[in-house]
């Protein structure tokens, strides 16, 4: 058993015993075999157990009162806790704690759907329910709303939302979170916004309430354990249809972005994206086999990344577009028809741009929007034995920043001599905007049997994060083990943001028992350890 730093085996055992008296002995896990199930299955430190973050035990409460009791006991013995909703955040740490020896608070048993309000379009759920279970409930009960699951879909809407995750229906899933119930680090129960009014009639309808709007404080933080959350839902549209616009000229990227972004801001589109098919055609970062042409890798490997004229010629020679934009519209059939007509008019007026409409999706229950585990297929075809982790910087949707970030990434990889990684990554714009005004690159780092290679890749990951920070870019999310590296980039005014987080942490969690170190927020007694 791995003990948390500064906690005696006697106190740890007493805490586990008291946890058992609250949740029942069957729901406290302390044997090596049981606790190992909470390790990060995709640890970036495969083969280096001394570097891995591992839990000391796990406890699985079934209701909020049990969570409160567990937190109070943890304070009594100063035992660190690490809560997970379903613990399936693979690629960002899974159920791995931020401090070894922590007791995982596994919320999977808290899996109730408390309300689905069809008339007003919201739901209230507990953290243990996952997207697949929810989808089945929606199908069975013919709920006329879409879920917004990430892939794979066995994660929790609460966990995903609080981690600022994204999904196809809502894009920014945290933007749909409306009202939280939180167990604070002292065990007290808090409801945010209108939920603070006893017998509140509109907790989910008007989430701000009165005073500071603090829901964001419980996302990507270690300030509380969220035990209930409301979500606004996206109505299932009569029709959902996409279109693409392509050009054989790189110089058309910015005009296409301008047009698509304006359509998004007007509410004509609900998602849009931009890419360069010729530049991305040899990338295997998403698991595809290369279908491009070998000269693509030659240009991508060059320090200057190839000139627009060279890329345009390569694209023309192989009939692959230099630029491709996408847009999605949805709603009643008549509205969708008008939106597409508007898009067709806008892009038909742009010389050299080809506009193509996709097939309408009529949401007939064919499962195309269903959460699934198919994403693991992408991982499997890459021959990965030990999973992956992500480098995920955000960028503005303009051509200048897209090329600047790609130039930076390419040169960091070339400096590191990692041509394989560069070939796999190739070039990326992030392709689709989950957020209205931002793109996100998801660069996959495979964990391999080769420990030396894994070390080089971790080193490359850190260099990329640092280089991003120097160029004004930063990551939106990070593997648990690398939280400090990412938070260090948010350093304006001598890290005033992190110091503010720490001030809050010290005030509401003086014993530092809740997820110490998560998202780079350490309690006082561990801050310089």
């Amino acid at each position: 058993m791995r003990l948390p730093k500064g906690v005696s085996s006697g106190d740890f055992s007493k805490a586990l015993g008291e946890f058992a008296s609250v949740v029942g002995k069957d729901w406290v896990f302390s044997s090596d075999e049981d606790v190992a199930m909470y390790d990060d299955a995709y640890t970036p430190f495969f083969g280096e157990p001394e570097l891995q973050l591992v839990p000391g035990a796990a406890v699985a409460p079934a209701k909020v009162e049990e969570v409160q009791a567990v937190v109070r006991i943890a304070n009594k013995y100063k035992v660190p806790l690490y809560p997970v909703s379903t613990g399936r955040n693979l690629g960002y740490g899974g159920s791995s704690p931020s401090l070894s020896g922590s007791v995982i608070v596994d919320l999977k048993r808290m899996n109730r759907i408390l309300e689905v309000n069809v008339k007003e379009g919201y739901m209230v759920v507990e953290p243990g329910i996952n997207f697949m279970e929810l989808y089945r409930h929606f199908q069975t009960n013919e709920v006329p709303y879409l879920l917004s699951p990430p892939q794979p879909g066995w994660g929790s809407p609460i966990g995903n939302g609080l981690e600022h995750g994204t999904g196809p229906a809502a894009g920014d899933n945290f933007s749909m979170v409306k009202g939280l119930e939180v167990v604070l680090p002292n065990g007290e129960l808090l409801r945010t916004g209108m939920g603070a009014v006893p017998n509140s009639k509109l907790w989910q309808n008007y989430a701000y309430g009165y005073g500071p709007y603090i829901d964001g404080m419980f996302s990507q933080s270690n300030f509380g354990i969220v035990t209930k959350a409301g979500f606004w839902l996206v109505p299932k549209p009569e029709v959902d249809q996409a279109f693409s616009v392509t050009s054989m000229k790189t110089e058309d990227m910015q005009p296409l972005i301008d047009a698509l972004l304006q359509m998004r801001l007007q509410g004509v589109l609900y998602t849009w994206g931009i890419g360069s098919p010729i530049r991305e055609s040899m990338s295997t970062n998403d698991g595809r086999r290369p279908y491009g042409v070998p000269q693509v890798q030659t240009l991508n490997r060059r320090r200057d990344g190839g000139t627009p004229a060279e890329w345009d010629k390569l694209g023309q020679d192989n009939n692959i577009a230099a630029v491709r934009g996408t847009g999605s519209v949805r709603g009643p059939a008549g509205v969708v028809k008008a939106q597409l007509e508007y898009a067709r008019t806008v892009f038909s007026a742009m010389p050299g741009v080809t506009y193509t409409e996709g097939k309408p999706n009529l949401h007939r229950g064919d499962g195309t929007e269903a959460p699934s585990l198919q994403a693991f297929g992408l991982l499997a075809v890459q021959g990965s034995n030990h999973g992956h982790f992500y480098f995920s910087p955000m960028l503005r949707p303009n051509a200048k920043d897209i090329f600047e970030l790609n130039d930076m990434i390419r040169n960091v990889m070339l400096d590191a001599g990692d041509v394989d990684m560069l070939d796999n990554y190739g070039w990326s714009s992030g392709r689709t905007t989950a957020y209205p005004k931002a793109l996100m690159i998801l660069m996959e780092f495979l964990v391999t049997d080769d420990i030396a290679l894994n070390r080089r890749r971790r080193d490359l990951w850190k260099k990329l994060v640092q280089a991003c920070g120097q160029h004004g870019f930063a990551e939106y999310r990070a593997p648990v083990a690398f939280a400090d590296e990412v938070m260090n980039q948010y350093s304006f005014n001598n890290h005033s943001l992190r110091r503010f987080h720490e001030s809050i942490k010290d005030a509401i969690d003086p014993n530092g028992i809740l997820a110490p170190g998560a998202r780079g927020i350490w309690p006082k007694h561990l801050r310089n350890a």
């Binding site: 729901w27 896990f29 075999e33 049981d34 190992a36 199930m37 909470y38 299955a41 995709y42 699985a60 613990g87 399936r88 693979l90 899974g94 596994d106 999977k108 048993r109 243990g128 697949m132 279970e133 989808y135 089945r136 199908q139 794979p152 879909g153 066995w154 698991g287 229950g365 064919d366 499962g367 195309t368 269903a370 959460p371 699934s372 585990l373 198919q374 994403a375 693991f376 297929g377 992408l378 991982l379 499997a380 075809v381 990965s384 034995n385 030990h386 999973g387």
Partner: protein, 136 residues
């Protein structure tokens, strides 16, 4: 021979109640498989089954079936439901410890009792197995 047969029947009568207690229910195990396994272990040819029984088109090969097909090269069925050689120990170990890109499945997700049901389902066609135990 007759005496040996009598001894066998006697021993079996001692063992049977234990098996009935320890073994799972294959029908329930099928539901567990649909809930937790089929998302990655459905047959490659199937195009409309997914995790938790959700009907959906398969855009990528199911991860587990793909990996096993690469490993066995069709000498053994890659889809777990078509296997006749899996043992209880193999199934339990794989579910609880994972392996490769498959993460462990925890007791808050699949209980020990459900795991017995899953074992009953995945070993239902084993030629060497004892007669199926009655349902709990």
């Amino acid at each position: 021979m007759h005496k040996q047969a009598m001894i066998f029947i006697f021993l079996a009568s001692l063992i049977a109640p234990i098996r009935a207690f320890a073994d799972g229910n294959a029908e329930k195990g099928k539901a567990v498989f649909g809930e937790w396994c089929s998302g990655c272990h459905s047959p490659l040819a199937k195009t409309t089954v997914g995790a938790q029984g959700i009907a959906q088109p398969i855009l990528q090969p199911p991860a587990g079936t793909y990996v096993l097909q690469q490993r066995y090269k069709d000498k053994i069925p890659a889809a777990l439901e078509e296997r006749t050689d899996l043992t209880a120990a193999q199934i339990k170990t794989r579910v609880r410890t994972g392996g490769g890109i498959m993460p462990p499945t925890r007791k808050t997700e699949v209980s020990d009792e459900q795991l017995e049901d899953l074992v009953a389902y995945l070993t239902r066609n084993n030629k060497t197995s004892a007669p199926a135990a009655p349902s709990r």
